[in-house]
């Protein structure tokens, strides 16, 4: 508790880009991150890349988590990352979860997605990754 109070909470945006309506995974992840002491903003379904970037910028999050089950990641992720850059969020940690085939992972990693958590990933693994890799941006006084 004392350690958690000393460091400010990591802020995470959980976003559902595109046209799939399944957000159980996103909600489970949001809940796990909340229970790990993070402040989680969930945007809901059917988000465009522009909406995700706007929310991430205005909410000034440290981490953007993209949940996708539609198979459109190769089309959507590059646009989201571009929009995040346009919004001035170059240092934000981007992670993804959902059904992303192994052969797509190298390309997405190269684009700037720091980690991809497929089905069956233990929650704790994702939580730990975010905790370790979220950018530290300022001192708390």
């Amino acid at each position: 508790m004392a350690a958690a109070a000393r460091r400010r909470p990591i802020r995470v945006l959980i976003a559902k880009p595109g046209l799939d309506g399944h957000d159980r995974g996103a909600k489970v992840m949001a809940r796990a991150l909340r229970d790990a002491g993070m402040e989680v903003i969930y945007t809901g379904l059917f988000q465009t890349p522009e909406m995700i970037a706007r929310a991430a910028a205005d909410e000034d999050v440290d981490v953007v988590g993209l949940s996708i089950l539609s198979g459109a990641h190769n089309a959507l992720f590059p646009r989201i990352i571009e929009e995040l850059g346009n919004a001035g969020l170059d240092d934000v940690l981007i992670v993804a979860g959902g059904t992303i085939p192994d052969q797509d992972i190298p390309v997405l990693r190269q684009l700037g997605v720091a980690a991809i958590f497929g089905p069956g990933t233990p929650l704790q693994k994702a939580v730990e990754f975010i905790r370790q890799h979220a950018p530290v941006r300022e001192e708390t006084t």
Partner: protein
Amino acid sequence: MSDLIERFLAGDRRALARLLTHAENRTELGRHAEQAIFGRTGRAQVVGVTGPPGAGKSTLVNALIREFRDRGRTVAVLAVDPSSPLTGGAALGDRIRMLENAGDPGVYIRSMATRGRMGGLALAVSSATHLLDAFGFDVILIETVGVGQGEVDIADIADTTVLLQVPGLGDSIQTIKAGILEIADILVVNKADQPDARQVVRDLRNMLLLGDHTSRTTPILETVATEGTGIPELASAIDAHYTHINQTGGREQRVHRRLLREVEQLAGERFERWFTAMLASDDLAAERQALLDRRVDPRSLAERIISHYAITHSGRRSG
């Protein structure tokens, strides 16, 4: 460092977002920013929206954003949700109801966790309001956490406090209790399409009739926020109240009280931090033991620490 403040003053939205984080985290830069921008504040119309969990606050705020935008005004929203008392984490879910305004540059929505603060708001809400005000938003809508009966901090911050009620929360005895109903400038019965809504309106009206008739009567409005029903009327009532308090000098009083209260809170916050550190420090190990051994009582120990504070701090001033 001060580059952020300059960018803020030039109207850079991203700088606003960063400075809000600094305000929330109580950083040095956050304090500098507040000094730099405070002269520009005092122009925004601050509207508080409060009510029990699930009453429809976020949905109503979303409808109000659209209404005020249609009236040509820019709108910022601070949406407060609770932090976990166990882990400090938070799920901030208000934004999800406000997505239709996501692409409008005249709208800024920011979610905020209470971070342990009671009273329905986060500690940083005052600072955040100053930043949004100085940035030039015409209307600032502050949505509190879902409240029960006693979370009334919003009345210290807002020019106009809107309290939502919904059917199904109890009988007319609830309406004569002290607390949150007293701070409302406007009462809204949301979900007014539900069967018991009329009874809620009647109970609230009777509650008002029991009270003092000399001052302005609190309007009671009915809305169905999901459909936008009653929203133009609500926006007009908010504006009418704002005009009223401006004309009668009531706003000046409110602002005065608000700023003094903020000073009080900031000083209290600093003192509390000092006190907590002091209490845990090695210097007081013997006193803590004496407390555990029941040789000194809690009140005496508190008094002793406070006088110690007075001595060290007056000493610092003269020296």
